[in-house]
Symmetry: C2
Subunit: 192 residues, 2 copies
DNA sequence: GTTAGACATGTTCTGATAGACATGTAAATC
DNA sequence: GATTTACATGTCTATCAGAACATGTCTAAC
């Protein structure tokens, strides 16, 4: 359950409302840790109950602004320093890739083309996020250097996938030799 | 829910039991789509009920061997050809990385060192998997070329992360200039 | 013979996730 | 004045994932 710590981290960076956090999660974590507002509001209640954050009501609207407590800061740092982290990466496209052999060459290259475009977009998105930071678009407080390191990770990650998809498109007409009696599902049935 | 299709794909490659599939999932998909045996056995029941696979009892032990049906093959190909795929990559380390600024330089470099080692190991693991395939260690049926493409994706993915962690370690003593009144949580409190 | 380790298959419970449902306000445009 | 869009906060329910619980067999070593 790292949404808990993601929220704790964002609130530590600066106080924010549930609405803010919903948007910032979508923008910053995007596809690496998706979370809808139902989850976020629920987790905020729990964090408040546990005393890791506290809430102030602000403005004419009943807008709730959350601030981190000392306990919360301590917990964030404990989480960051943890050595036994979870490296699980749940990533369907890679699962799918294991079965590319069952696609026809045409299907496959079309598919890889779309993947390449998508990953390139994601890499660009994070590059843009870093640039926006550099311009100070975000009310720039502490996170500068560290932010750049992180964004670099995301850029490399998506960049590597984009490179791969482009390489795989040209490198692979799926014409690998096949064993006897080992028909591709897309092949016409053999004559009797 | 792509475990369904992962299993369908593996069974299409060759008939297998729940035990086989549990091990193959762990070995092949490893950290990109983890699945324990409770999930796998459950999904196999559902796949059987839906007529996508069928089961034979084999040997003295009540070992159940699953085979794909024609309906199952069709469903696999439908899934592969889908254009609106889910690109979500649930990846906690990247979430954590967004809050590196809250770590002390020492903590951070130690952390990055561990990350680098782990990712390098994963990349090597997939490289080895590809090499084993090339040697025909796996009773090599159809998946050769396609397998290599996939493994290449995994190698690049983990390789990019390893490169990043190594780069971040040397490139970043976390000494970025900080704004006035913007204390690092790990700093000693300022004198009164 | 018995014990240990690999093989093999399930259920159950708890927590995480995602989509749908539900409500209401402030500001800007028409 | 009415409508639309963005802001803002929640609940409910179904499904999914993961850990623990539970059972039993075959094979090889002792």
């Amino acid at each position: 359950m790292s949404l808990r710590h993601a929220l704790l981290g964002l609130i530590t960076d600066e106080p924010a409302s549930g609405w803010d956090l919903t948007n910032r999660c979508a923008e910053i974590f995007g596809p690496v840790w998706p979370a809808g507002h139902p989850q976020i509001y629920g987790e905020l209640s729990r964090l408040t109950a546990d005393g890791l954050i506290e809430v102030d009501h602000e403005g004419p609207r009943r807008r709730k602004v959350y601030r981190v407590t000392d306990t919360g800061t301590a917990e964030l740092r404990r989480w960051l320093a943890q050595t036994d982290t979870d490296h699980t990466m749940r990533f369907e496209p890679l699962v799918r890739a294991f079965f590319f052999q069952h696609m026809t060459p045409g299907d496959l290259t079309g598919h890889l083309g779309r993947e390449a475009r998508y990953y390139r977009e994601q890499a660009d998105k994070y590059r843009e996020l870093a640039a926006a930071k550099d311009r100070g678009d975000y009310g720039d407080s502490p996170r500068t250097h560290a932010m750049r390191i992180t964004v670099e990770a995301a850029v490399r990650l998506f960049g590597a996938l984009a490179d791969w998809a482009e390489w795989a498109q040209t490198a692979t007409p799926l014409t690998a030799p096949r064993a006897e009696g080992d028909r591709h599902p897309a092949d016409p049935p053999p004559p009797e």
